[in-house]
Amino acid sequence: MASAAGHATIIRDWGSDVTTFKGVPWGKAMMWIFLLSDTFIFSCFLTAYMTVRTTTAEPWPNASEVFSLTVLGQSVPLLLIAIMTFDLITSSGTMAMAVNYGYRRDKKKAVRLILATAFFGFVFVSMQAFEWYKLISEGVRPFKNNWGAEQFGACFFMITGFHGLHVSAGVAYLLIIAHRVHKGKYDHTNYEIIEIVGLYWHFVDLVWVFIFAFFYLW
């Protein structure tokens, strides 16, 4: 597609006075538009985080130390976050497989892979709940913490909370779709519904990539 001729299709598609996104089922187009709006929401959170972090004269707590876990007497930085990252990537992999098997009309494998994705998502939320519990018990609040700038807690709970909410909603969404696919509600279609739920799930992973880089590593 990456050619001048490919680019010329933009004008033709948008100027065709009929469906703009040709070959894209309406549900998929709507999911993309929803995700675009979600991109703006998460970007506003991350921009707000950048703004408070660059404007505060108080020292920012060292994320590497805050999110470290002690294993066998050794303090390992960001251990839980790294495990959560790999868990989410694994779930993205199983989701991509589910989409693929859906289009191959292998319903059984597709349903199993969606359930595996939901499982990894659930594990992610559980680890996040543990992380919240740990930080709250160490005195982190949206308005204070024991290490540095107060804004740290506000950013942390806002950003990871909103992301965790997306993962939780995603798990519910995956389970509903798995159930409906299993019941045969989409047998008359191409199973593009699996690709649509997949788009949402990959987006959740995508947001985590940015949160991991900006909030935990920076």
């Binding site: 597609m1 680019h7 299709t9 933009i10 598609d13 948008w14 703009t20 996104f21 040709k22 070959g23 894209v24 187009a29 675009l36 991109t39 703006f40 970007s43 506003c44 921009t47 950048m50 703004t51 660059t54 404007t55 505060t56 004269a57 108080e58 020292p59 920012w60 060292n62 130390e65 960001l78 790294a82 990252t85 990537i89 993205s92 992999g93 991509a96 497989m97 989409v99 693929n100 289009y103 160490e138 024991n146 290490w147 540095g148 191409n190 199973y191 593009e192 690709e195 997949g198 788009l199 990959h202 987006f203 992973d205 995508l206 990539v209 940015f210 991991f212 880089a213 590593l217 920076w218």
Partner: protein
Amino acid sequence: MSSEVGQQHPLSIYFAVWVGLFIVSGLSYATDFLQDGLMRWGLILLFMFVKAGYIVAIFMHLKYERWALIYALLLPPGALLVLVGLMWMESDYTWLTRIEYFGEDPYAVAKPVVH
């Protein structure tokens, strides 16, 4: 390549991207052990964009969509860069004001974390 018959690609490409994401995530995590500085921040951003690119292009199949959809999705977030730029430009002014008028100490270091 329209998606009229859905997105059918060999499984191998997903496995390749999956393994790639694992490796890049590992590298990304490894940056935490580097000294703060341009090198570390550059690598964090590099690995972040590589991961994001793979997820959007392959897992979300954007690479295989028509340009009409690709541009509809990738151009609007450009507005966000303007927002980031505006907030960034203003921030040193706020920071200096806080030091100048609130007497905050810009050299203070965060307290050590004890778990």
